[in-house]
Amino acid sequence: MIQEFKKIWKQYAITMLWLLGLLWPLLGIHPDGTISFKQTITVWLYILSGTFICFIIYIINSSGNLKFFTEPVVNTSEKLNNMVQNMPSWIWKSVLLIGAVLYPLLTGRYPTDVAINVLLYICLGLGLYVVAGLAGMLDLGHIAFYGVGAYTYAILNVRYGIGFWVCFPLAGLSACIAGCIVGYPTLRMRGDYLAIVTLGFGEIVRIILNNWMSLTNGPNGILGVKTIGILRPVMENGFSFEIFWVKKLEYFYYFALVLAILTIIAVTRINFSRIGRALEAIREDETAAELMGVNTFYYKLLAYAMGAVFAGFAGALFAARMKFVSPESFTFLESVMVLSMVVLGGMSSIPGIILGVIALIVLPEVFRELESYRMLVFGLTMIIMMLFRPSGLIAAKRKKMMEKKS
């Protein structure tokens, strides 16, 4: 045991010295020909003290000295878990639903705004879940379909004046078509290659949005997208309808909520359907799945198209909310963001993904002052997650359910 700790300490010390060597040329060498050490050492000491605390906690934890603290926490969470599982599911579902419905009334404008973001990203994340979690295809260009959906609505609305409710299915359709176009040539590939090709397609879509001036107005984006309009019955002077433009953020929140709930229901249904099983079979072993009579290409394309459709719907809603779209919203980094939400929550569990989305949207909002360090911490979290908990926060539950049934 002591030997092991010595080894860990040694590795830690070497890592920190390595970091010092890494920082010094970047911070200590100045263009006017002077060399300084002060800034480097200061930054390094900050990092050192921060990591040191985490490290000490980690060591105490792994040696079992933190049991007085962790054990009650684990016990309570297990008890809660059991309670939730033993309760009829409609109880906590309705509690969650009521909470979600009351949320904008209880909070202000800013939290509602963040919540809309969360809901849109839940749609995106669950779309990606079908592709990456169920079928095991790593997709690094998922945001492209979000972009296609958003631009479909923006272009149709601004140029042709078509309303939201016509464009909404069209946005899904165009994202689906885009998904098929991307999927058809690429889905013969597997693993890393698929990842890089989808990344390439995502970039192609962004470049096209950026350069097709006559259609998309290039990097300036499209301004003046109308929001959702719904027909509202009016009782004055007899019975008639008038168009009611959804401008208030709270109403928008409800639209996003409905979309998110529908997506969750749809993805759950896919998950436990024949298609879901087929996709999981493909994920586990494609060759074996094909031997068992699963039409792998068809199912992979289907998964890809379905993921794209959810993203397209979310995109249309995004365009309607922002009233503005530009290629800047659909960069590679956003794709990585969505993917890390899915991975962070556990590749194949729907509640996990929702948790991942909430974590990755809400935490950066909370630490708004540390804006510039946000992505740095994000990258670091991704590495640490992969090192210590590669299966995500909430691991998949299917195995347990199978056992229960049998």
């Binding site: 970047l26 911070l27 263009p31 597997r190 890393d192 390439g200 590495i383």
Partner: protein, 303 residues
């Protein structure tokens, strides 16, 4: 015709740079079957360290008296720095994941990429950092065609590095060990080749070459930016795939082809879509001939 030759020269310059970056991808993939997403950031870091040292020397005043020494020193220091960076990154973020699923390593690589590019942004600023511009003004001119001194330097240096790498890999004992590790890790461990050392070495060499490419790009375009690693990284990866991933000669060839296609595509088809051509080649190659130009057979876990 004149413009064709001019474009050809530009294409070779750019292609050489891509080839240097592609080598890192292909070597790493050959040894541990990982797409090192952070490779583009090694390239960007090389560009930054290059500009730091070049301007440091300019500030000291050595640039006027000993330009060749300063340039060599900057290249060497930047390459060493990036090798140092890459070896550390490999030890921290990739080595513990070698036995895990491939996805974990890939995501870890993505995390490293984000971390490094933001680290560069935080330490060096969000804006472009300009290279000392008085270097290498002018060039040889033949009629309408001009070849900048810088282009000559880039092509010569790229050539020298590529020849040196080929010598290292195919003529020395270390190179033999590298090739053996790439073929079969267990077997090479049995004949006393330390695979950890070889993997570190591979990362170091790959990142060093990328750093050289970074300085060249900085000199060629006049400035560096913290997020400049992303696009060249992906294009270089396309080059590596085009040449057959894991194959060193293939990566050089692929880099040249991608560079040419980009320059000619920008010149004759559309300048706005110049970034798309590399992706189209990538997709085409993977669709029709996933082994690439010079690749051997690959088993079905790869494609």
């Amino acid at each position: 015709m004149d413009s064709f030759i001019q474009q050809l020269i530009n294409g070779i310059t750019l292609g050489g740079i891509y080839a240097l970056i592609a080598l890192g991808y292909t070597m790493v993939y050959g040894v541990i079957q990982l797409i090192n997403f952070a490779h583009g950031e090694f390239f960007a870091a090389g560009g930054y360290v290059g500009v730091i040292f070049l301007s440091f020397f300019t500030g000291l005043g050595y640039m006027e008296t000993h330009p060749i020494f300063c340039l060599t020193a900057s290249f060497a220091l930047a390459m060493m720095y990036c090798a140092y960076l890459a070896i550390g990154v490999e030890k921290i973020a990739y080595k513990p994941l070698r036995k895990e699923a491939r996805l974990a390593a890939l995501l870890s690589a993505l995390g490293v990429s984000i971390f490094l590019s933001n680290g560069l942004m935080l330490t060096q600023g969000v804006y472009d950092k300009a290279y000392p511009s008085e270097l290498f003004q002018g060039g040889f001119s033949f009629g309408i065609i001009t070849i900048g001194y810088l282009q000559v330097l880039i092509v010569c240096l790229t050539g020298a590095l590529l020849v040196a790498l080929n010598l290292l890999v195919f003529k020395t004992k270390i190179g033999m060990a590298m090739r053996a590790t790439a073929q079969d890790k267990t077997m090479s461990a049995l004949v006393a080749i330390g695979s950890n050392k070889i993997i570190s070495l591979t990362f170091g060499i790959g990142a060093g070459l990328a750093a050289a490419a970074g300085i060249m790009v900085g000199l060629y375009y006049g400035s560096v930016r913290y997020d400049m690693g992303f696009l060249p990284g992906i294009k270089a990866f396309s080059a590596a795939v085009l040449g057959g991933i894991g194959n060193i000669t293939g990566a050089m060839l692929g880099g040249l082809i991608i560079g040419m296609v980009e320059i000619f595509g920008a010149g004759y088809i559309s300048g706005e879509y110049k970034d798309v051509f590399a992706f189209i080649i990538l997709i085409g190659v993977l669709y029709f001939k996933p082994t690439g130009i010079m690749g051997e057979n690959i088993d079905d876990t790869r494609v």
